[in-house]
Structures are given as C-alpha cells and as structure tokens.
Amino acid sequence: MQSVNGLVGHGALLIALPFIALGIIIVPVAVKRGRRDWLELAYGAVYANFALMTAAALAMITALVTHDFSVSYVAQVGSRETPLFYTIISLWGALEGSILFWAWVLSLYGMLVVAINKSRAGNLVPYAAMTLLAISLFFAILLIGPANPFLNVSPVPANGPGPNPLLQNHILMAVHPPLLYLGYVGMSVPFAFAVGAVLSGEAEQNDWIKVTRTWTMASWGFLSAAIIAGMWWSYEVLGWGGYWAWDPVENASFLPWLTATAFLHSAMVQERRGMLRVWNLNLVVGTFVLTILGTFLTRSGIISSVHAFTTGTIGYYFLAFITIVLVFGGVIVAGSSDRLRSKGKLDSAASRETVFLLNNLFLTAFMLTVLVGTLFPLVAEAVRGVKVSVGGPFFNRMSLPIIAALLFLMGVGPALPWKIASKADLKSKLIPPTVGAVFLAAVALVVGIRDPYGVVVFAFVGYAATANFREFSIGARARRVARGESWPTAFVRLVEGNRRRYGGYIAHFGVFFVALGVAMSSTLRTEHEATLQRGMTMQIAGRTLRLQDIWGREEPQRQVVGATLEIMDGNRVTGTLQPRMNFYRTQQEPVPTPDVRSGVLGDLYLNLMAFRPDGSTATIRAIYQPLVPWIWFGGGVVVFGAIVGGWPTARRRRAPAPVVVPTPPSPPPTREPEYAA
C-alpha cells in the first residue's frame, strides 16, 4: 500500500507524460494549419507540466519532512536524526531527487518562457516551447523509469541512513545546487530558442538573438554564482584549503560557462554587424550539449565524485539523449548555414569586432582544452585499458596563457570602436591602461609574487581594469560637463542609459577581483603542519597559534571532535578557531570541518588532521592564503553585472526577459571524496 505522498508524486509524474507528449505534437500541427488558437493548448501543456512537476516536488518534500520511509528516495536519504533544514535540501542530495529537481526547474523555465514571450508574433515561441517540452519528456521518462524517486518500499523501514555526510555538513549545500540547476537547466532556453528560430525560419532575423541573449544572461548569472558557490563549498568543507582542482565535476560546470560567455560577446557582433550568425547557433547548441554532457559525467557514475551518486542504467539514457541532441543540433545548424551567410564583413583589424572574434577564439580553445583534459582519462581507459589521470599541471599549463590573453582582451575591447579605429584613437586610449598595467605589475613584485604568470595576471588586470574604469569615468565626465550632474548622479544615469554595456563592464570588474584572488592565493600560499599538546604553539605567516583544548561532543546525527586554538598577536589573543572532525554514524571516515578566519587581505585556515584518542595531542594543518575572499566578492560583482546588464528594460515593448535573477554572491563545483586526503 503506497502512502499518499508516493501516490501523489508518482501520479503527478505519470499524468505529466501525456500532457508533455500532447504539447509536443500540437505545435507543428497548429503551425502548419495556421491555427494559433491550438497553440494555447500547447501552452496549456507547458503550464500543466509545471503544475504537475511542482506537485511531485512538493510531495517529495512532504515525504522527506514527515519521514515517510515507504517512499524509496526517503528511505535512501532520510533519517529521523537529520536536522529539518538538511532534510529539506536532501531533495537534491542524491540521484533520483536531483533529477526530480532538475525536471521541476526545467518546467519552471518553460512556464516562464511562455508567460513572458508568448505574445510575440511568429512561430519562434511555439517551437521553443515545443523544444522545452521535448527536453522535459526526456527527464519525465527518467523519473518514471531508471530514476524513479517514488517507488514503494515494503516493509517500511523505521529509519534511514540520512544524507551523504559531506552533503549535510555545510549551509552552502542549500545554495550551490539550486544555483547550479538554475544556470545549467537555464541553458536549455537559449537552445530552445535556437531550434525555434531555425524551425520557424526566423534565424535570419536578429530578433531571436535578442531574446536568447537575455535568457542566456540570466542563466549565465546563475551559473557564474553557482561556480563560485561550489568553489566556496569545496574550500569550507573538504579541508584541503583549495577551491579549484580541475576535478571533472568542476570542469563539467565550467565548460558550458565558457561557451555561454563566448555567446554573450559574439551575440553583440551579430546584432551590430550581422556577422557570426552560424557561429552563434553553434555556440548555443554547444552550450546545451555541454550541460547534458556534464550531467552525464556527474550523474552516470562514470566518474567517481561526490556528485556521482550511483551506478545504474541511467548513463545509457543520457548517452542516447546526447546522441539525439547532437544529431538534431547538427542537422539544424547545417541545414540553415547556407541561409545564414554573413551580411557584414570585417572592416579593420583594429576594431571591437576583431577583439570579440579573438575573445571567442580563446574561449573556445579554453573549452576544448578543458574538455580534452576531462575526457582523456575515459578515452584512455576505454581504448588502451590504462588508468590515467590528467592533473592540475596540464590544465594550468594550457589555460594560463589563455586566461592571460583573455584578461588582456578585456582591456582592449572596450577601448576600441566598432568598425575601425584611427591611429590617434588608439594612442589616446591605450596609454592609460598601460600605466595601470605597469602599476599592478609593480604591486605584484612588491608583495612578493615571483611566478611569471602571477605577475602577468596582475599586469593585465591592471591594464584591463584601467580601460574598463575609463569607460565609466569618461562617460560620467561628459554628463557632468553637458548637464551639470554630480559625479554619483552622472555615474548612475550613465549606467542606466546603457545597462547592457555597463553591466558587461561591471562583470569584467568581478572577473578582475577573481583573477587577483586566484593569482595571489595560489602563488603566496603558506602552509604549516604540527602536532601540539595543550598550551603548545605553532607559527604561520607571522601569527602564533596556541592549542587551548581538544574536546568531544555528542550531537543527534553525529559525534564531533574539535580543537580550540587561540590566534595570538604578541601576547594578546585576537581570536579563536575551532577546526573539527565530524563522525557520522553511517560513514567510516570522519568528515573534516576546517575553520577559517577571513580578512580583507587573506584567510587563516585551520584543519584538524589527527588526534590521539586520549585527547593529549592534536595535529593541526594551518594555511595562510592572501586574497581568497576577493574570489567570493568578485563572484558577487559578476552576478551584479549580469543583473544590471540582463534585467529587462521597461520601455521596450514586451520585454523579453526572465523575471528571475540571482541574488547571493555565491557559487559551484567541488571535489571528489572518493579519495579523501
């Protein structure tokens, strides 16, 4: 006998299926017969899908909260001891729940696309809605097939194991996954519009690019926030003191971000100059394929990681889906490429569109590098039967020159006009940034950076930041002179007048903060490990740490062992840190919980590595890394730039934009605990 939760959830999924199928079939028929009234039926199917997926998700949350262990997913991840907060967010803590959440987010996007864009003329939106329903169909099939979270468990267990300890150890688990889904799943919308543009024959017009750009901006903002939140989670939870390891799951989140970033830039070239139209189609389709590939890598169990929940048949479904999308995407791109020949041509090498071309070239090269490095171990094992890993050295060596070039271009692009720049133009616009570059390079050398790439990153950030800042200062000064506005007013009005452009520059500044944070923390990290008895001290980066206590504590779902250390400045105690080790009942290995004291200039990071069972000694790893908080702050600035640049403009007729926009300055991926250090 299935519980009410199980019946409602499973039932909602089963009912959704015919609605989705109906919607997919109606659109082409309605378009062919010219029956726009029939399209309302298809839109109704989109709304019904959203309502039913919402019902299924709510049924699952109810089941989790009420500990309804007759529902298979709850029996798998629930436990009576888990705090309510982590019980609710365990909705996305394992495979089936995460697929359900994915399907819900997708249905939400479908509903928003129809609600916001359906009054547009033409067949763009109907075909886009059809495409989104087709993707929904895939996830609905997963949910009633290999990833069904609502199976009936009999006899009903009295309790469950609780979520994976790593996933119930930090509050960022409530932030990173939803942001990532909003960003990842959101890339389905640009894909749907690209398909819609080709099927409706509107690909030659620029209109679809404008709608698509706005939706891409929203998803891109979420994805950026998600990536930074994941770095933060990894830093706060995994105890290795780092935030990025070129782990396959990190790469999976980064790949579509790179192509989406490329598209946001090249879309401007298409709008302005009518160039790159086939290329843009490729980028949009490619971004979507990369999100599905990333889901396959992280959800199929082909790569072991905290994200790979299980091995099962679901990988084959994803492979089949990727194949279908690739074939279909290839057909629509190839089929329309003749019609989409470039209207404009490059007038001069010294122009903004040249910089955008280079930007796209480097971003694509970056994507291919990460893709090859990520897939190589799989290919090597399949083809040659050897187990290999592609480590950080490969990714760093390949990507650092690309990153440096991209930073440089971020300084060149804003300074150059469209079409062609005059020599005088070039001279006056390129000298101040050069001064900025020299200044920051000097700063890098003074603070002690000796790594050549570290200095180069500082120099190029100095260059690009000056160039971007001048766009604001020159514009604001012009307004002051022309209209007598005060500096703050002139500045705000300037941004309001062209939010898209200045939002982009703001996002650039976010990238600069991230780049400086990464360059400093990776080149000037200091680390010291020592075994201490109570009262003993150790030194790190000019600070003294004294071990005050080693203690244990019982909590409902776990046992905690911690060390209390005082941070001393001379004889004065300026703070305490408590790195801990959490022992969950269901896992042999303890989960480390480092403690971090963050300052504007850097982080002091302590991790409890070992202790004697009698509590006489604790082994502490202390890490000092400068500017780490700049990375999180920079992520927030990027998201703010995306909001400024992507927020729908009121005066445009029927603003084609998403209502949802990210708030927190946080973000994404993570490290594998398969091998916990």
């Binding site: 290999v388 203690w551 046992q559 590595m609 000694t617």
Partner: protein, 146 residues
Amino acid sequence: MNRKKGILIGGAVIIVAAFAYLLYGGLDQNVVYFLTPKELLAKGTKAVDVPVRLGGQVKPGTVKWNDTTLDLHFTITDGTSEINVASKGAPPQMFRDGMGVVVEGRYRADGTFNCTNLMVKHSNEYRPPKAGEKPQDMQKTLIKGA
C-alpha cells in the same frame, strides 16, 4: 575574394593544428598513470622520478608514524609486489592496516616512493554499517559521559 577566403581557411587550419599539437604535448607530459606496485616495478627505470599514482593496500604492521617530526612510513602492497612509501604529514584519522590507499608522488632510484598526496580509498556509497562491522569509535573516549 577567393584568395582572401583561401588565406582565411589556411590560417584557421594552421591555428587548429598548432592548438592540437599543444594539447597533445601537454597531455603527453602531464598524464599521471595509475599503477599497482607490480606494474610500477615492471616498468623498471622508466618509472623512476615520474609522477605516478600508486594504488594498493597498507601492509599490516608496517605503519610508522612520528607525530613530532610528522614522518609517515608504510609499505604498500598488491599481494605480490610491495613498495616502501615515505610521506610527510598526518595520515588520515582512519588510516589503518590493510586499508586501500592511493599515493601520489614519485618513485625514487633508491626504491622508496616519495608521496606528496595520500588518499584513502573508500566507497563513495554511504550506508549503515553491515552486521559485524563496527564504525571506528576512537572519538568516543573524548565524548563526555559516553
């Protein structure tokens, strides 16, 4: 016009080829092989001083850990061959005889493996302990009233 197009295509081919070459070179030099002690020893001098991931079990009775100098020594075995590993830093809390480990580092000509990163291999599936399997409880002595 056609000449221009030719130059463009030629340029693109050169860029793609150069990029592919760079990628290949980067992979060639930076791929880290995952080996067992037997496989590593079979490679002879070719395996000396190149980055390797070595996987196996901790041979019972070989773990020596000095918590003052932070020196950790143990022997890793795959049942047939074994290699001595030298590492710096605390072993994972649950480090114990017979457990599966992966060590990252370089094999030296003197026959020891210099480990820079020690990883404990454990199942990613989390589950309640099976019958007869007691979770380690070294933390319990520190819990007051336990």
